[in-house]
């Protein structure tokens, strides 16, 4: 005979002010099977939990319903209380009368009526709950880090430093990401490459890190502690183990005028190339769309030049590798918005309208102009540069409502670098607000204004056109309330940061969520910032939201800490919500096998004593089963059921509503 205890929480005034709890207790007490029904101000408090425990012990309760907040809030709390009182923790149900009732309805009478029905229906469910045991699964203590920018490198180094293996996958030919393209970094103005390249080298030389460049994650299967990742190693046409990185092939390549992606098109590369001089690994790749051999079937000069036998192999194919990993860190980074969206700024039409990232390359000592700031059109040094901030960010009409966060700082940095390189130059900056929150950031922008003469104009630019070799920038100074017109030599757009173009598609492939823009969602904005909703997959860097280097690095270390926390255990305990098959009734149609998204159901033979096959039935692997219940609904003979959400339980719940 079921003996159910119902505990109605007031949650201070949160529930009690909108639900007549006394009435709720009275009505529920009359429900068959309810042994005890009590109300209290805060059941989640220590004395509240004590009350629950005492009631379980004294009345020998067989099930508990706590009518309070969402199970997402306190289910664990009360399960623990049940367990401590000797009741199986899965004999608990939470009736959500706060989030789903008292907080959302203003009519007290109707809210009370609803609360009674919710509670009763869960009493009926809990009567049919079964004693369950958590499932233990082993943890593969190897991590997969996707993306080899500064965030991915940091996460990989931290995990590897703690003695765990890491697979670091990068789709470009070299690790380093966007940080390798930057000239100097705010707010210290130290050279980006100087601080980054030692990290890159450390990563590739680390005995615990396996770096796979020019590779992409094709598929991820499995679950926390037990993922399987399939990785495509794109063919470089150069043997990564044999190549010494001498660079002779690059020197001799006859195709020399390919706009370099790394230089934002301001410099050229060859068809066989490394993206930049400090590339890690320092092994070239062949761009088959540009290579004369791949286009015409003739050339192979690089192969003839190469001193190492069979190092350059034109017949190389993509290969696939599979890795078992226990945790995944996603650090896939960002792209900058397509600035041609802004017709009024003339990007793409005028050569001297460039993006902030291009300016980084112009200012970089290793860049196409060796650090001298020159106009892309005629190579002259500009005397006046106009910087346009929020060129894309905070503009709902262009689909970017958010602030890209780093532009205020890098624009101030650009103005400074320009002042340091060209003492007579003027930089005029159109801005909406200066957002310089961060350690040393506001001081930095003040320095740009006070010491390096950056002239800030609050307002937007409406039009930009070319006249007599100058770019005429028309805008408004909203503080003076007057239109302004500036004849500039160069215009730099602080372009919005946007997710990778394939961010959504990739999220679907590995099973994580993303927001309206395509940035990846954390499990909780404030309290779980590096976890995704998928257990075992973590986030860091600009794939989650626009971020500067310190934030990306901090988040990467946080993600690494989460991974290492997971790896500190050999076994994981997981919810026993899994499906199971009744051998007696299974007809062996195996519709469930098709329905299962996890390939968790196999065919099992049932043999008699002599080994003769009697029949074949479906068999659920509880380690792989994630408990979605799709198979249960699919089953024609009602032979599969899902622990915690059995047919019996759900029908009882519906009948009681």
């Amino acid at each position: 005979m079921a003996k159910i205890g119902v505990f109605v929480c007031h949650c201070g005034e949160n529930i009690a002010s909108n639900v007549d709890t006394a009435n709720l207790v009275r009505k529920v007490s009359e429900h068959p099977g309810v042994e005890v029904c009590a109300e209290y101000k805060y059941f989640c408090s220590d004395p509240g939990q004590e009350t629950v425990k005492r009631a379980i012990r004294e009345n020998g309760l067989t099930g508990v319903v706590v009518a309070a907040c969402s199970p997402r809030m306190h289910e664990t709390t009360f399960r623990k209380a049940c367990a401590e009182a000797g009741l199986n923790p899965y004999m608990l149900e939470m009736a959500n009368i706060r989030e789903h009732c008292s907080w959302v309805h203003s009519d007290k009478e109707k809210a009370t009526e609803k609360a009674i029905e919710i509670t009763r229906s869960l009493v009926e469910k809990v009567k049919r709950n079964n004693n369950l045991k958590p499932i233990s699964v082993p943890v593969t203590r190897r991590a997969l880090v996707i993306g080899g920018g500064i965030a991915g490198i940091q996460a990989a180094l931290d995990i590897a430093g703690a003695g765990r293996e890491v697979i670091l996958v990068e789709r470009e030919p070299s690790i380093g990401g966007h940080m390798s393209q930057l000239s100097e970094t705010f707010p210290t103005l130290d050279c980006s490459q100087c601080i980054l390249t030692p990290r890159m080298v450390e990563a590739i030389q680390h005995p615990n890190i396996k770096v796979l460049t020019y590779s992409e994650v094709e598929e991820v299967d499995g679950y926390i502690g037990n993922f399987k990742a399939k990785i495509r190693k794109k063919s470089r046409y150069v043997d990564i183990d044999k190549c010494t990185g001498c660079g002779d092939c690059i020197q001799k390549c006859p195709v020399k005028k390919v706009p370099s992606e790394f230089e934002c098109g301001l410099g050229n590369r060859t068809a066989i190339y490394t993206p930049f001089a400090q590339a890690v690994p320092n092994v070239p790749v062949i761009d088959t769309t540009r290579c004369t051999y791949f286009k015409n079937g003739k050339c192979k000069i690089c192969q003839k030049t190469c001193q190492i036998e069979n190092c350059i192999d034109f017949g190389m194919q993509d290969t696939f590798e599979e890795y078992e990993v226990g945790a995944i860190v996603v650090a896939t980074g960002f792209q900058i918005q397509d600035t041609t969206l802004y017709g009024e700024y003339g990007y793409g039409r005028y050569k001297d309208v460039i993006t902030g990232l291009s300016f980084e390359r112009l200012a970089s000592a290793s860049g196409p102009t060796s650090g001298v700031i020159k106009r892309p059109s005629d190579g002259k040094e500009p005397e006046t540069i106009v910087f346009i901030q929020c060129a894309g960010s905070r503009d709902p009409s262009k689909g970017v409502r958010y602030c890209s966060k780093i532009c205020c700082m890098y624009t101030a940095k650009h103005a400074m670098l320009y002042a340091h390189k060209n003492h007579d130059g003027r930089s005029r900056i159109f801005y909406m607000d200066i957002r310089a929150a961060g350690k040393g950031y506001d001081e930095f922008t003040r320095r740009a204004i006070e010491e390096d003469g950056a002239e800030y104009l609050r307002g937007r630019v409406s039009k930009l056109y070319e006249e007599n070799g100058k770019l005429i920038v028309r805008g408004v100074d909203s503080l003076l309330g007057k239109p302004v017109e500036i004849a500039a030599d160069m215009v730099v757009l602080a372009t919005a940061i946007v997710p990778q173009p394939d961010a959504r598609e990739f999220a679907k492939r590995i099973g994580i969520g993303y927001d309206e823009y395509g940035f990846y969602n954390e499990a909780h904005m404030k309290l779980r910032p590096v976890e995704t909703a998928t257990a075992g997959i973590y986030l860091c860097g600009a794939c989650q939201s626009p971020k500067d280097i310190p934030d990306s690095v901090a988040q990467a270390s946080a993600a690494a800490a989460k991974v290492l926390g997971l790896f500190s255990r050999e076994q994981l305990e997981r919810e026993p919500v899994v499906a199971s098959v009744s051998d007696a009734t299974c007809a062996g149609c195996f519709g469930c096998v098709m329905a299962c998204p996890y390939n968790a159901i196999d065919v099992r033979d049932i043999n008699d004593r002599n080994g003769n096959l009697i029949k074949q039935v479906a068999d659920v692997n509880p380690g792989l089963c994630q408990g979605c219940g799709t198979c249960v609904t699919f089953c024609r003979s009602n032979s599969i059921d899902l622990a915690g959400f059995t047919e019996n339980q759900i029908f009882a719940e519906i009948m009681a509503l």
């Binding site: 989030e99 789903h100 959302v104 609803k114 959504r504 969520g513 408990g627 979605c628 799709t630």
Partner: protein, 149 residues
């Protein structure tokens, strides 16, 4: 229909998206019609058409099935199964004479508290217009009278 008719709506939702979305509506203190009763399931893939029929039989005037957006399913593909099942089930509904408007299929993510609130208000209004769902009871009565012959 009399003004006082208060429909009963049974919502079958997945715990990862729509249940969390309804939680968000709560934490955001959005107000919506008190006519809905939520049944929490792990995934829309777990929602059997039998649940829907049972709810209608037991006096629900409308049923809502809601889960994660396509592509966002916590269980990778459960919501696709639910969607396909719904397509087939809809044809069956037409055959049995249960008006299709009694059943709503929707996607509400964990971030869409406002959408959940709006959806419930909308369904409540629509169901009020449709009036009480009595076909099942009438059928039951008819069977009882028949068997008394």
């Amino acid at each position: 229909m009399s003004e006082s008719f208060e429909p009963k709506i049974v919502a079958f939702v997945c715990t990862y998206c729509t249940y969390a979305g309804a939680d968000l509506a709560g934490t955001s203190r959005l107000k919506y019609a008190p006519n809905v009763r939520i049944v929490r399931l792990p995934c829309t893939g777990r929602i059997s058409p039998m649940f829907i029929l049972k709810a209608l039989q037991k006096g629900a005037d409308s049923v809502l099935v809601s889960g994660c957006h396509p592509g966002d399913c916590h269980f990778a593909a459960g919501n696709y199964h639910a969607r396909r099942r719904w397509t087939v089930f809809r044809a069956l509904l037409a055959f049995t004479g249960i008006p299709e408007e009694r059943i709503r299929f929707s996607w509400v993510s964990a971030a869409e508290g406002a959408k959940f609130a709006d959806l419930i208000n909308e369904i409540t209004e629509e169901t009020k217009k449709l009036g009480p769902f009595t076909q099942y009871q009438e059928l039951q009565k008819a069977i009882e009278t028949q068997s008394s012959y």
